[in-house]
Every structure is written in structure tokens, then in C-alpha cells.
Symmetry: C2
Subunit: 217 residues, 2 copies
Amino acid sequence: MVNDLINSNSSTTQILILKAARKIFIKKGLSGARMQEIADEAGINKALLHYYYRTKDNLFNAVFMEALKHIQSEFFIILNSDRDLFDKIRFFFDRYISFLQENSFLPGFIIHEINQNPDRLVEFFKNAGIRPPINLIIQVSEEVKNQRIIPINPIQFLLNMLSLAIFPIIASPLIKGIFEIDDPDYKDIIEQRKKELAEWFIDSIMIKKSSNEEQKE
Amino acid sequence: MVNDLINSNSSTTQILILKAARKIFIKKGLSGARMQEIADEAGINKALLHYYYRTKDNLFNAVFMEALKHIQSEFFIILNSDRDLFDKIRFFFDRYISFLQENSFLPGFIIHEINQNPDRLVEFFKNAGIRPPINLIIQVSEEVKNQRIIPINPIQFLLNMLSLAIFPIIASPLIKGIFEIDDPDYKDIIEQRKKELAEWFIDSIMIKKSSNEEQKE
DNA sequence: GTCTATATAACGATAGAC
DNA sequence: GTCTATCGTTATATAGAC
């Protein structure tokens, strides 16, 4: 795995290389990145990249696997946490969007590279032993059964949450262009989403008690 | 514009080249595509590509501008059509998702290339004279004022619609990988979205009349 | 217009000195 | 471990025959 490459013996140089590779690969992708550019970014010589990682593909894999681990662990920490469903939704939109704001190129990078070569994902799962967020899926099914939320396919539920959180980040240059929104304004829009999305989403799936029942509380 | 390149004088060869370029560029992106591969796909010689388009960048631009025009015209036809807001929402989810199903690599391609070089979008707008979907934005504002729908920023409204429609398409290899869904099953999920998304979305923004008022109808 | 052959440049990767 | 210099390949692009 990735961590084998960056173990306790890792030199400062190797960390420098990985940092630079991360920046360049995530921005430009595998085919768009140049070894020379990564070397320049790291402030070292091109030959040194090959000394540590032998090939471009190796270096890319280190970055890619690490990125996948990063984004999915954040995701799973939230969705498998021990919370009430509605709280989990609030937690998700707040924390995951914040995470994406600080790593805005990450989801686009991963999606693009998986589109280019879906086998990378297979390999990742094989090595990392990662499973679907069963916890949340069960939780949604339960709440449907208890009639706290409307009947909804848990997969659709998850797709909706992911779509609403991730798309505005990965498509931001496109959206900004189409609607003629500048950077600070778009940042405000994302901030507004972080505040309002959860409550709107909860409201859209929650089954409201009839006014009779509601009186009791 | 693009259409100047493919005018009535266009030879069959030029159309063949553009078709092949479309397929390769949209799948692999500018940096990932090879001129040789495009030539092979078109069943012609590599030199002929340069005869018609001179450089790779020119050929790419033809494909990119055409793709942008395609996806945005479909979008604007729907959103600027003369319909009631709720009907427009139904129309959008049904037709736009169908469109995306048949062009599943298109949105990812455009987003990725705009991320690489946002100026391409600026140039597109300059040449095509395209504006934001004012029609829909006004319509949403009106319905908010009339208290038919909940108070919502029209931009957020549009972002939600776009996110819910587009993300599951561009991230499909990732989603399929994470949730261990095969192709036919994922197709079913998208079909289900096409059927259910609109009603759920409408329900989430509509202000319900109180039961007293409702009696009258 | 379409081909073959080739120029030219860029890029990944290695050899070898320190 | 880090550098300079260079090899080998692949990519875009052009020249020139047909």
C-alpha cells in the first residue's frame, strides 16, 4: 500500500517529491503532468524522481491511492459514525463540503482517473479492503420502515447526498463561467449550501406528523 | 465558430475526422488523446489530420466548442421553454438525464477541460453569445414571491437540479465501484432517478396548502 | 486530397561522476 | 543521495511524391 512507500525511513526528499507530485498530478492528471514539472515543484532534479519512484506510473499510483484513501476515509468516518440519521445528514453536509472546499481538485481528479482506468479502483479495494457504507444503508432502510422518512431506495438517498455536496465543487469553473459569478461570490454560495442544504434535504425526506399528533409535544 | 469549420463544403473526410476526434478526445481528454489514435479511428492517415486542422489544438478546439454548444443548447432549450415551473422541472429531469445517458462522457470531458484551462469557456461565450438561463431564474423568484415554493436562492435551486442530474452520470464508474453495482443495475438506478427525481424535488420545494384550503379544490 | 517518409521537439528513463 | 549529461522513444508536425 501507499504507506509502505512513506514509512518511517522516508527521507525529507521523498516527502518533498510526493508533495510536489500530489500538487501536479491532482491538477493536471496522469497524462497532463510532466516529470520535469514535478521535479521543479519539488526543487530537485528530474533524475531524483526516478531514483525514488523508478517510473512515472509508480509515482502517480502513490498519489492516486493516497488521494482515494483520503477522500473515502473522510466520507466513511462521517457515514459510519454513531449518530441519528438526521444528525448524520447535518454532519455530512457541513463537514464533507468543508473538506471538499479545502481539496477542491480532489474529487474531479479521482473521477477523471477512474474514468480513464476503472481497474485502479478495483486494485484500491483489493489492497485497502474497503466496503460500501453499509451502516448508513441499513439506517436509511430502518427509518423508512419506521415511517420516519419517505420510502426511498437507500442508494438513491446516498446518490442525492453525494451529488448535492460534490458536484458544485467539481464543476465550479463551469458554473462560475455560465452564471458569471466571481470567486468570492461563489465561495458565499458554497457557504450558504453548507448552512441550508442539510435542513432542506432533511425536510424533503422526513415524514411530517399530522397536526393532531404534533399537538402532543 | 464551430459551424464555420463544418460548413456545406465540408468533405466526407473532414466529417470522418471530426467524428473520430470527438470519440477520442471526449474519452481521453486533450493531453491523453493521440493524433495517431484519431487517425486510426477515422481510417485515414495521420498527415491528413494536419492537412485539415493543422494542429492538434485546432482539432481539439473544434471538438470542444461543439461539445459545449451541444450540452448547453440542450440545457437551455429545456430551461427557457415556455412552461409552468413544475412542468419544467419534470421535463428537465426526464429529458436531460436521457440526454446524459446517451452522452455519458460529455459532462466529465467539459468539466475536466475547463478545469485545465478556464479561458476556453470565456472564449466560447465570446463567440457564441450565450447568457445565463435568466428565464428560469426569474421564474423561480416569482414562485417564491407567490409563495408557491419555499424561499430559495434561484442559483441554489439550479445547482441542486444540475447536481442531482449530472453527478450520478459523471461519477458512475466510481459509484459502481464503491457500491459494487454492475452496469445493468446501475442503468436501472438511473432509470429510477428519471422517474422519481422530479416528483421528489418538486415536493421538496413546494409549499403545501393547509388542509382547510385544500378542501376547496 | 491522400499517401510515405522524415524532421523536430518533448518526454520518460538511465549512466556515470561526485 | 544528488547531480549533469545523454539515450531511446514517442509525439506533433512538415515535405514531397502521387
